[in-house]
Amino acid sequence: MPLPPVIDTRYDEVEIGQEIPAIGIGPLSHTQFVFIASSHHDWYPAHHDVEYAREQGLPDIFMNATWQHGMFQRLLCAWAGPNAIPRRIAYRMGRPIVRFDTVHARGVVTGKRIENDLKMVDLDIWLDKQDADKVTVGTAVVVLAA
């Protein structure tokens, strides 16, 4: 497969209030949950064992925090380009992401500033699923390409 071109978002292109392109995944199968448990070495059973999760008072097996972080990093890097770096990603998880959910990661620019010659962009970020908005909400800081 040919390599894609190196394209970075430029600081002067960024506007406050701008929504960045969303990304999506799903519906999430049981197999995908087991794959995530394996690929993250996260064998806490509430992530792959439905019976265990329900015994713990949870609705079903749910995606772990690291997977949600990965979704946000994918969202931010796809928008900002390969020479940018997500400096900080922080979020709070509300309703769990469970089997058969379809998840979209979204973001909106809330600020931009230059600090120590770094071109920084602040964003609100969140995850929606098919039947609920903002099940995980947070903020991010991205340092754009110089």
Partner: protein
Amino acid sequence: MSSEVHETDPAGYVYRIGTEEEGMQWIGRESASIEQPYPIDVEHIEHFAEGIQDPNPLYWSEEFGRQTRWGGRIAPWGVIVLTAEHKVWRPQWMDQRPETGTFFMTVPLPGNRLLATNYEIECFAPLRPGDRVLKTERLESIVPKTFRVGVGHQVTVKAFFRNQNGELCITDSRTVFRYRSGTGAGYEVAH
């Protein structure tokens, strides 16, 4: 293990059980710097990206990475979790399983289950294939809480990940609800 009270959940994780007062005395404790058993490798990177369905060529192509400021392939930040031991089974656990080496479970509290609630990750320099990772932890806070799954405490632990050159690459601050099994109202079962 000592005469301290421990409980093991169905996953085999070992919790040190104690009172809230005992736990609070641990706030501010820092762990020793420990080299993680597995260095960053290409398989970790690809496996992680696969789970997110992330096509970012920085994770898939050394050649693409050379065209960027990074000069080669880099790892998504979450790959730090893969540098730790799997902790499913070890030969030395045949007689007795040791405590899990993280403050989330070693701090004495009543809870014997975990549920992550908040996560903050900062990256100062990306990790790359071949990097060896050293980790330290600091117990930041313990806050009593009640959620639908049970009664317990939100425990925040900040981890610091440095590469073999001592460069701080990533910090990872997780807040986990450590609760007592069987004390919550629960959710409705999903269908």
